[in-house]
């Protein structure tokens, strides 16, 4: 187990290195001269050359990378040329919103998918199983941005629930109920997609597990149905679920960005899209770096949980 974790940590560091190189190089891939962006099209060539030198762009690229990564490791992601604010502080302000949406949506998705999948698997082809299997297919085929638009139409406009419409984000420190209200629609919209994935994965794995001999064995011990489902069937069936969750959360970030943009919620997604529109390269670079490392970390954590859930994996 320890060896497995150490190996994974080495791999994690390697991946983070590759990500950092990638997001560093991103800036150099952009067409045009960055000094033109900063000084405007009318800048004199001497000034441009001066700035070029000031930014260290005349040095070899690997040196530039080491200077940059050194700063990044100390928490300095640079200062935006556009807004003249620290990239790190901009990210620090926006990130909690993403985390909160993610957290709420995943809690919702797991809290609904697990019990419903358990009941479905107990009676495959029963009314509950049929309803949710068919229903989840339908939900799977509806894109998140449609769901959001429909929810805004019905919940914000028709029902008039406060803080749910576009541009009505309330921060947590301001008013926590308002905050929950303002993040409810994105959380629910993202939870729907996750629910479908988790429900389907867990249901089919549970049905397979329930055919196993050790389940019959558990029955023969005189254990209750409930105990068999939760203590014996759930854990061996949840490996694929956790794997799916790890992958899904990465994808969820992207749909989260769309939702934030639609509802004007000032999270990382919204900030990223505005940064791209304004050619705020450093901010784009910072967000890409933070989000990529975040996805890698989440997957690492899920891998770790999978190992605890199924000790057979790290033994191989």
């Amino acid at each position: 187990m320890l060896r497995y974790v150490l190996r994974r940590i080495v791999m994690l560091i390697a991946i983070c290195f590759i990500i950092s190189v990638g997001s560093f190089y991103l800036i150099h891939l952009l067409p045009g001269n960055i000094t033109t962006v900063i000084e405007g099209p009318g800048a004199s060539p001497e000034n441009q050359a001066k700035l070029y030198k000031l930014l260290g762009l005349n040095k070899p690229i690997y040196q530039q990378y080491f200077v940059w990564i050194g700063n990044v490791l100390r928490g300095n992601l640079g200062t935006s040329f556009i807004s003249q604010t620290s990239v790190a502080s901009t990210i620090r302000a926006a990130l909690p919103i993403d985390l909160e949406i993610m957290f709420l949506s995943q809690i919702l998705a797991f809290a609904t998918a697990i019990p419903i999948a358990m009941r479905s698997a107990r009676k495959p082809d029963g009314w509950l199983d049929r309803t949710f299997s068919a229903g989840s297919f339908t939900l799977l085929s509806v894109p998140t941005f449609i769901v959001i638009v429909l929810m805004v139409l019905f919940i914000s406009v028709k029902l008039g629930v406060p803080h749910t419409g576009p541009s009505s984000y309330v921060s947590f420190s301001q008013d926590w109920i308002g905050n929950l209200e303002s993040l409810a629609l994105p959380a629910v919209a993202l939870a729907i997609g996750s629910f479908v994935v988790y429900y389907r994965v867990l249901r089919s794995d549970l049905i397979a597990t329930l055919q196993e001999e050790f389940i019959t064995m558990a029955r023969s011990k005189g254990l209750s149905q409930r105990r068999i489902m939760w203590r014996h069937a759930f854990r061996p069936s949840s490996v694929a679920l956790l794997g799916a969750a790890g992958v899904n959360i990465g994808g969820l970030l992207a749909s989260g960005f769309v939702v934030q943009y639609l509802l004007n919620i000032p999270g990382l997604g919204y900030t990223l899209i505005s940064a791209i529109n304004m050619s705020d390269y450093l901010l784009v670079q910072g967000i890409v770096l933070v989000v990529s490392v975040g996805v890698v970390l989440i997957n690492f954590i899920f891998d770790f949980i999978i190992n605890i859930v199924d000790p057979r994996i790290s033994r191989e």
């Binding site: 558990a218 011990k221 005189g222 105990r227």
Partner: protein
């Protein structure tokens, strides 16, 4: 309901039918036998003869869908057929327990073996956590697992097949059942381990005053360890009697074929084993006649159209189902 203290188990006209896409499959068709306390009986037959289904039906463990069970299973006077899951659950583990065939699949792979034992103790006997753990370690010791306090924390994947089967036995013994159904308990194990496990079962049976039903396809296993033998074919009993009588004076040609197809120490080396020609019948296409007739060298016209019922042989309790039984000879069969 008559309650006979001596009768631990009374099975009457027990039939299990699976409703499959291909039609109704009578896996067990009209089985009757009795069993007294502190007895070991053997159920033998080829693969597919209905032994496993029979033992699961006796316990009431069959799946709840697509199966019909008729007849009666009286376990210490309680009717198991048609009993609710709750009623059966009360008896599982305490009255009747089962040892499963394959220890590789019958233990939960992601649960420590100790937990799989003391779970039963806590849920069924209401033991405290500490008591259950102590008892689980005792049970591990009882089934001959070395350094049980360490094995308590092992996952099944960290144990060998023989060890796992010992754990399975420990689980089945946890609530001191009166009847233990051992469904091919050694089939998945090495020959040397097989003997160990069987001797262990025998020893535990004596020590804990249990009754055991030993289900196997291996006549060598039942020869010395059982007092009675039930020979099954195509879901029916074809011969039943005391072990000595069945080995020495069997009347059903199938029993003889089974005996001849198992290796004997007294045979010269490289002796070819006799095989039974053909295969067990497709239970979906059973005929009116004797199921064994197509493979039987004694079969006559009558065998193919009319099924023989069990009839009494010389010794009380010895019965066979055959129109053309083997002659009554006083042969001596080496065990």
């Amino acid at each position: 309901m008559s309650f006979d203290n001596k009768k631990l188990l009374a099975v009457k006209d027990l039939a299990t039918t699976f409703h499959t896409a291909g039609g109704d499959l009578p896996a067990v068709g009209g089985v009757s036998f009795d069993m007294e306390s502190n007895q070991t009986i053997g159920i033998v037959g080829e693969s597919g003869s209905g032994k496993t289904v029979l033992s699961r039906t006796i316990m009431g463990l069959q799946q709840r869908t697509n199966v019909t069970v008729t007849g009666s299973v009286l376990l210490s006077g309680f009717e198991m057929v048609g009993a609710s899951e709750d009623e059966k659950r009360e008896r599982w583990g305490t009255e009747v327990a089962m040892i499963f065939q394959d220890p590789m699949t019958s233990l939960n792979p992601v649960m420590k073996v100790g937990k799989q034992i003391d779970e039963t103790l806590r849920v069924r006997l209401g033991m405290s956590k500490a008591d259950a753990k102590a008892r689980a370690i005792e049970l591990l010791e009882l089934v001959g697992i070395p350094s049980p306090q360490y094995r308590y924390d092992a996952y099944p994947g960290q144990l060998s097949g023989g060890m796992r089967q010992r754990v399975v036995i420990a689980i089945s013994l946890a609530c001191s059942p009166k009847l233990l159904l051992a469904d091919e308990p050694t089939t998945g194990l090495d020959v040397t381990i097989q003997a160990q496990i069987l001797n262990l079962l025998e020893e535990l049976k004596e020590r804990l005053e249990m009754s055991v039903i030993l289900v196997t396809h291996d006549l060598g296993v039942v020869a010395t360890r059982t007092s009675r033998i039930i020979v099954m074919y195509a879901g029916r009993i074809v011969e039943i009697g005391s072990t000595r009588e069945v080995f020495a004076h069997h009347r059903m040609p199938y029993t003889r074929a089974l005996l001849e197809s198992s290796p004997k120490v007294s045979n010269a080396s490289h002796t070819r084993l006799t095989t039974i020609p053909g295969r067990p019948p497709n239970l979906l296409k059973l005929t009116q006649g004797c199921s064994f007739a197509p493979r039987c060298s004694y079969a006559t016209e009558k065998c193919h159209v009319d099924r023989p019922e069990l009839e009494a042989a010389d010794e009380p309790g010895h019965m066979f189902a055959c129109w053309n039984p083997l002659p009554k000879t006083r042969r001596t069969v080496k065990k």
